[in-house]
Symmetry: C2
Subunit: 469 residues, 2 copies
């Protein structure tokens, strides 16, 4: 496997065929504006977490075409003058975005990219690829966090992740509220705490469980977690773990936890807790893994399962069952004019022009439950309208509004140092704390309102009439 | 974003904590054997395609720990003698595997890895990560191919793929039967034909559709495909495409296709076909995209929709709705002894020792519908037994058997040049052709039998009794 890095060819070919036509028709410098938004919350939930911005900004600052890229494109039928021009390609655009870790809602532009139409098209695919995936996983992680109180959540997913996608899944899981990961490379590169215990194979490689536990405790005394379900959890694993815990205590060490990886986790965790407590090991924690997701954890918590640490793999890192966020990137301005994409379906009609999003706030600092999309140069409006049901409106008179889109990149350069991953994760939990509970419900969550200003509504409707002719 | 390459830290931390204990207890050279297998077909289907082997072998030949990796591990609590030993780490094991592109079934070991227990554990995570994902996607692609006859199938998925996982998804899709991809980097690195047309944004960036089509046809005359649904497919898009097709013809060029990306694809493709035919453009093809999967394509084909090229994105590259294959890696031999993992569930009991898999063949060269797992040094057996229902057996007397596991890596070195991706894809279609149709049905497919030999059954049961004591 070659070293893999994201260069200009990390895109759909059509971006380059379109770019070729723009180039050959002299539109190199034509300015365009694109919005990134999505249409439906994943997991039938009531909110989505915006993630991937840090990764995107790193990629955009370095994006270029290698000589190999250019040769390949030339040999595959692209115009030589155009492909030669890609030698000097770099991203020089300007980006406004909501903060990474923000709680976001369907159809509002959470990122606005201004640049030449060529650069804006070429980076579309990587932008969607990064934001769609990390937002999906951060949202899954936030859902899991929402039912886990302050218990420890660890990402165990790399083995079932979608190839190298697992690397970024670990990043996004941390943003959504996870504490740690088993993925060493992600831990190292993103500064996430790494955790690791033992597999069944370790115990199987010994003739008996007790010797395996002893060897592990002696040679890995810090953060020692023993896996107790290889033979028989209650009759063999836990009694052996308690023996080893006593031996560790005599050496002045502490067993951190035992791990359950099969069976009924509620039943077993209660039995195991009692056995540990009866032996005086109140401080030894219980870790559980095996096909966990937000639904199973919620049910375990409802049943009072005394589990301290959850290890979550497949469903977290693949964002199952949805597996994708439906984010799109739509042209809203080019050639000096606002643009829309028509659709028979009024819900899929796009919004023209450069825009801002305001979040309506309650006096107590929590979200009121409504965002309003306005033109970028517009003042906070007094009223918002439903984008596809024009007789529905909501008065915003006297309510506080917070602008969500901030400039993060100007002419290809960062405006300020990006926040650390921990700062992003902290911001995410803060914002989730401001979101009323009714939007966090798993079943039939309350719909958060996203409206548009009168000015924007009029501009869109005028454009629509023009195009219809 | 740093350049990303798979090094030794592309693993779960527990592989390294276990390896540390093996190292510190003097088991550096202890040999171990692990089997890779999975338990359930994805998509409730009747078969799975084995993919990712080529990628895995490339990675294993190059796997190492960088100085940064080692520093990180040392600073994060691993033993310094152990981490220093990783400076010289390389993979020196031997691998037997079924051919990449093979049709495989649950619970049979499709890859056997022999090596030191340390190297075998360290590479577990990357092995599972690569094989699980590519096998999932190749299987999805093969399902889509199975309902698409010889129509052209293109992967359009990168924008909704799970981050950089999309790169390998394109590789796996080609193995499963896709013809091309929009993903330029994957096309370039894996030698897959790249395809690309135009997005709605291209047309929106012009004041009118006809001028956009004309510019595109003039500056990208080869493989020219026009997207016809931006304003109104039947009233604007297709009539404009026909005008441009006439202009191209006058220049001695041909319009390759029109593309539909919304609306009812069956209804629209029939109308569009008639309009093209009435204008004399019988050779202009129809491309369709928009939320396609094997079910939608089957239904379009059943209704006789005259679509020539399908572009499939999200469901292909994420393997939705499953999003993961449940492949596992289990110890079967170590410290000079066969090993099993016990389970209350007889179905989850693992098989000990070094094994081979035989496929039972009909005289006509097709699969009979049964594979038998035997010991590696065993002759073709005359009878096979159900692994968890011991009163069920099947006579194999006089039937041809084909050994599926072949040595591909010996002491870390390739045995022979790996097949090209096209050879792998060709093999996959050949093997699917040998699989009886009843196993390819989407609803309730016939279960392919996987049995074990008498010798292996006895060895497993003896080990089980020993452990139970």
């Amino acid at each position: 496997m070659k070293n893999f890095s994201i260069t200009g060819t990390y895109t759909d070919l059509y971006q380059l065929t379109m770019a070729q036509v723009y180039y050959l028709t002299g539109k190199n410098d034509q300015k365009a504006v694109f919005d990134y938004f999505y249409r439906r919350h994943p997991f039938d939930g009531g909110f989505t977490i915006f993630a991937g911005l840090g990764t995107l900004l790193e990629v955009l600052q370095d994006i270029h075409f290698t000589q190999d890229d250019i040769e390949y494109l030339k040999q595959n039928g692209l115009n030589a003058d155009f492909t030669d021009s890609l030698k000097d390609f770099k991203f020089t655009g300007t980006i406004h975005a909501v903060k990474e870790g923000e709680v976001i809602f369907p159809n509002e532009p959470v990122l606005r990219l201004e640049g030449t139409i060529i650069e804006a098209q070429i980076v579309e695919t990587l932008l969607l690829n990064i934001l769609n995936f990390q937002s999906l996983i951060a949202t899954k992680a936030a859902r899991i966090r929402s039912v886990s109180g302050d218990k420890v959540l660890s990402d165990f997913g790399l083995r079932r992740a979608q190839g190298t996608g697992g690397y970024y899944a670990s990043r996004a899981a941390f943003i959504g509220g996870f504490n740690s990961t088993s993925n060493v490379k992600a831990a190292m590169d993103f500064g996430i705490p790494a955790v690791g215990t033992m597999a069944h194979a370790f115990i199987q490689s010994y003739d008996d469980e007790l010797t395996a536990f002893r060897d592990f405790a002696i040679h890995r005394p810090d953060n020692c977690i023993l896996l107790v379900d290889t033979y028989d959890t209650l009759k063999s694993g836990v009694p052996n773990a308690i023996k080893v815990a006593r031996e560790m205590k005599e050496r002045g060490q502490n067993l951190l936890a035992v791990r359950l990886d099969s069976g009924d986790l509620s039943y077993l965790s209660k039995k195991v807790r009692k056995m540990l407590d009866d032996a005086g090991f109140h401080e030894v924690k219980i870790t559980a893994s095996n096909q966990l997701d937000e639904w199973v954890i919620k049910s375990l918590e409802d049943q009072g399962a005394p589990i301290d640490i959850f290890g979550i793999g497949t469903s977290l890192v693949t964002g199952a069952p949805d597996a994708a966020l439906d984010g799109v990137y739509k042209l809203s301005f080019s050639g000096g004019k606002p643009r829309i994409k028509l659709s028979e379906n009024l819900k899929k009609l796009t919004l023209p022009d450069m825009k801002q999003v305001h979040r309506v706030m309650n006096d107590d600092g929590n979200f009121f439950g409504a965002d309003v999309i306005i033109k970028a140069d517009e003042q906070a409006p007094d009223i918002m309208f439903h984008p596809s049901e024009p007789d529905k409106s909501l008065s915003l008179k006297g309510m506080k509004q917070e602008a969500l889109l901030h400039k993060v990149l100007e002419n290809g350069k960062l405006i300020a140092t990006s926040p650390s991953l921990l700062e992003v994760a902290t911001y995410c939990q803060k914002r989730l704390g401001q979101l009323p509970d009714e939007h966090k419900r798993f079943y039939n969550p309350h719909v958060y309102k996203v409206g548009i200003s009168d000015t924007l509504l009029k501009e869109r409707n005028e454009l629509r009439s023009q195009y219809k002719k």
